[in-house]
């Protein structure tokens, strides 16, 4: 099974980390993303369909003014929804 299929549009799950705590009501601003906060940081996690959508989120974040700390690609839909094959226990050790 091809687990490392590269998607040229860079779609998949993204995690965007900001310094500072955004109010939960901001999640409406970032369609499809879940907003969680911790001590001095905010995480936006969710599916992003392509690069243009990602840059759209980033632009809106720039307008808010909270410092951007990191942007991580967590994996494609396929990767994240696949389950390991139980018949081959030695794989992925």
């Amino acid at each position: 099974m091809n687990t490392a299929a590269t998607d040229p549009d860079g779609s998949g799950q993204y995690e965007i980390r900001l310094r500072g705590r955004l109010d939960p009501r901001w999640s409406a601003h970032f369609e499809g993303m879940t907003l969680t906060t911790g001590d001095g940081f905010t995480l936006l996690v969710g599916p992003v369909v392509d690069q243009a959508a990602l840059h759209g989120h980033l632009n809106r974040l720039r307008d808010i003014g909270l410092p951007l700390v990191s942007v991580r690609h967590l994996g494609t839909e396929a990767e994240l929804s696949s389950t390991p094959n139980p018949v081959r226990p030695t794989e992925g050790a």
Binding site: G20, L22, R25, A28, G40, R62, I64, G65, L66
Partner: protein, 894 residues
Amino acid sequence: MPSPLVRTKLYVPRARHTVVPRARLLDPLRAGGQPRLTVVSGPAGFGKTTLLATWAAGASRPVAWVSLEATEQQPTSFWTYVVTALDTAVPGLGAGALPLLQAPHPPMQSVLATLLNDLGALADGVELVLDDYHLADGPAIAGDVAFLVEHLPPDVHLLIGTRADPALPVARLRASGELVEIRAADLRFTLEEVTAYLNGVAGLQLDDAELAALEDRTEGWVAALQLAALSLRGRDDAAGFIAGFAGDDRYVVDYLVEEVVRRQPEEVNRFLLDTSVLDRLSGSLCDAVTRGTGSRAVLESLERANLFVIPLDDSRQWYRYHHLFADVLRAHLVQERPEGVAALHRRAAEWYGLADEPEPAVRHALAAGDVELAADLVERSVIGMLRQRQETTVRGWLDQIPAEVVRRRPVLAIGFIGALMSRGEFESVEDRLADLHDLLAAPPADLVVLDERELARVPGAMETYRAALALVAGDAAGTVAHADLAIARAAPGDDLTVAAASALAGLASWGNGDLESAHRAYSRAVKGLERAGNISDVLGCSITLGDLRITQGRLGDARQTYEDALRLASTHEVEGPLRGTADMEVGLSQIAWERNDLAETAAHLERATALGERLGLPQFPYRWRVARARLREAEGDLAGAVSLLEEAEQVYVGDYSPDVRPVAAQRVRVLVAQGRLDEAREWAHALELTPDDDLSYVREYEHLTLARILMHERDASGKATRTAYGLLDRLRVAGEEGGRTGTVIETLALQAIARHVDPERHDLPRALVPLERALRTAEPEGYVRIFVGEGAPMAALLGALVERNPSWSYPRRLLGACEHAPASPRDHGLVDPLSARELEVLRLLATELDGPEISRRLYISLNTLRTHTKNVYAKLGVNRRRAAVVRAGELGLL
């Protein structure tokens, strides 16, 4: 883009008196050596605009300001705003570049070159501020902005306010000390500035610890400080608030806006949330959205309270919210009343619709999710928008209205087709026309038409677009056929469709060389335009009508055309002369020039210059220069003529008409007169012009130019001259077939000269045959320059003709004009230039003829010849015939 500009974007924001003077930031900008480029770069709410506005208020030079928006990513829009802003700061500064920007495809290189020239000519310089640059930044404009920065004259400076570093080559400028950067770290308020703001400007009375706590919590972010000040105003327990604030780690703006908003009365609260959906606020608009009254007073009190409402003009009619404030308010609104948001947008859309501002109206309708409303708004405004050349906006709407909505709305469909055609996006048009045809043939039950009159125009419009597609595909017959259908199907009174279709048919005929049909078609277009009241377009078409008549050798009719157009324009003046008036003066100058009435030529050109480029159509800048070049040439200033023609090439903008007199070819003719044959040959070579080419009307001027080059070849055998003669003959026949009398006269005149100067087959009597024919044809229209411009060789022929026909006054007059003309060209290097006669003698000295033969050729006595020869030698600084020929060759006189 001759659309109404949003003037608020050009407004220089007033520096508020309630600000902390930030000398540490402004002093580097005010010091003597202000850098070429200043970039103020930082996140939202850091005080960039305020800083630039404060600086602008104290600037010693005029300040041009543009508050950019995303629409300025499009180059025409960007540069139109920039040039208009500069023109607002220094009236007249944009006169050169603005007309170029209004052409269908503005030549950006020329726009920039013209702008830079005009900036360089300023006595005191100017400052240009581009705020919110990050909204417009992008590949479409970055290259040209970099070019501008690179070539700014010493007294002109650019300042940019932006949230993202601009895509400009700043590294180089930084290295050479021509860049000042003010970044986030600089913009943050220091403790000193925090103190000055909170205790000074905001009038609070905080102690050192409290000030330090606020500075720490906000990190010097001025937007947060402003909100904190608002929260603290009139609050008894300042210390408690500050402690709570400092101890909370929520996003500052969230926290503070909530504090501020919570402390407002309920109605203000509601007002803020309702109006947060708007980009711009006015009393009337806010009344509509809030369904209240008295919004204007609310806005004014918000401004007084410093509640993040920023005025966009001096009359306090329009405001906007500060971005951060609006964002937070919107988030509040969405959370508190999600179901109400669409209604607010819908009210805004309706207000803008009634206010005749389609762009924001459509935007709000789409934001409300109301596609039918959006489609209604688009449909109502689309024809008007296209007439105002706002096809880019319409094209954008096309992507936002679902196709299935468009398929039920024929007026909308034709509007979108129009936008695609205007932008040259032809691919999908055929299919769209077919769909529209089917829709009209079998209208569904849910067909939507808002204006029956517009529906009646659709069939005519469809055929007009088909004609345009045919023209683009080079199918002249198809163009005319569809144009005729368009006229047949045009709704009664739809003059514009008749005019547009006729103009297309005219273009097709013109490209084919069928000038009479072209003239008929354009005349019909003019009548349609006149009935529709589009007088400037009448003037534009009159340029074409005049050109056609001139090519047909009908100077009198051409002159009549221009004069009639001027008379028509003067009866339709509203606030001064109409656009296109300047072009008519240029046209009249051309007629006067052809008749060698140089004083009148100059008078018309002066009037054209006085009217200026504002009153000229897009091609005015180049045509005006060509006309002035012609005058200079007639005055003997060939170098000046070439220089003007080079400028004309720079500012040339094409339209859809065939380029039948390319400026490059016109310049090459002057080069030939200057003896710069190498450059002329290069031009011919680059265009792959040969004497054996198949002839076509579109290349006629270029082939005539080639013939001239050939005639000037220093070719002892005369082969080049005979080749020229053959080419001229073919051109003459083509001209006769096409009714292009101007061409016929020119070819006959050149053939006469060719026969005369051919060293092997020199034959004066036979040379006079074509010349006489040329004169008989030219006399009724009063042509003079077409002969006089040929200089000495023509003068000799005219002399012979006068001798044979002493009672014919025309050649005598022409000869007189020749003798008054400055000796053509090749005067460089001579202190005392040769006269026309002397040049003719010199030419013959360069042949193998002896003295008596030369004097016979020139119809002068041997004594007279000796006098001329002596003068020639004296002027050339020689005393032998051979030396004279060599020297003449060196000077390029032969």
